[in-house]
Symmetry: C2
Subunit: 135 residues, 2 copies
């Protein structure tokens, strides 16, 4: 397993359109339109940087995976980092062999970008929620 | 002001050598040696990714700027994101004109990479601590 590019940094926010306007107007960033992703319980806006992107996440629906995070962090906050890997099943097997925990049932799921992803337990990685995405 | 590259994501950790070993051995990342930066109250390890880097921060000395964060997040956590800008004084003036708050006295300081930096108030940016570094 070789850790690849930083695919994105995800920031959970209560209002993704307002956050996107701030990144565009105050910070001078290029931002996408908002896209509702009901299968993932979030609406997303991407901030395109020259070398990677920031993903703004707003809760969508009654069972959003970021609802609890925003209860604890009402203004928002950095939610996770996503690293690319070449083979997500090989990465999963290596991580399990090292004693790291995969969230959910341990099987890669299709993520918000249409590619297989896994989430690693933050307690195993210094309090950081890590997403791995097959590049 | 145009938001440039994501220079780094900073992760505060109680033990940077242990965290670096985990990134190297479990995740397959390239990591630097630990460097003590007494002027900044931190020891740093850089994780080199193909497109950006992760900065592991461990408190150093009695007045570390990350001590409070680690009191609240004992296992560690994502501390800030750092974006590059072309002219930090122009960026500062634009931000102040838009009503954003600069931490400290508002003057750029020489950061841990030897370049001028500013930190923006997290309450103005969705709970995210943003560092701007002159590229």
């Amino acid at each position: 397993m070789v850790l690849g590019r930083l695919n994105h940094v995800a920031i959970a926010v209560p209002d993704a359109r307002a956050a996107a306007a701030q990144y565009r107007d105050t910070l001078g960033a290029t931002v996408s339109d908002l896209v509702e992703q009901p299968d993932h319980g979030v609406s997303t806006v991407f901030i395109e940087l020259p070398n990677t992107k920031i993903e703004l996440l707003e809760p969508l629906g009654d069972a959003s995976p970021i609802a609890k995070f925003l209860e604890k962090n009402a203004e928002g906050g950095i939610h996770h980092v996503c690293y690319e890997v070449g083979d997500i099943h090989a990465a999963r097997d290596k991580l399990l062999a090292e004693g790291a925990r995969i969230l959910g049932d341990g099987e890669p799921k299709i993520g918000a970008h249409g590619k297989p992803v896994l989430f690693l337990h933050p307690k195993d990685f210094c309090g950081t929620l890590i997403e791995l995405e097959q590049a």
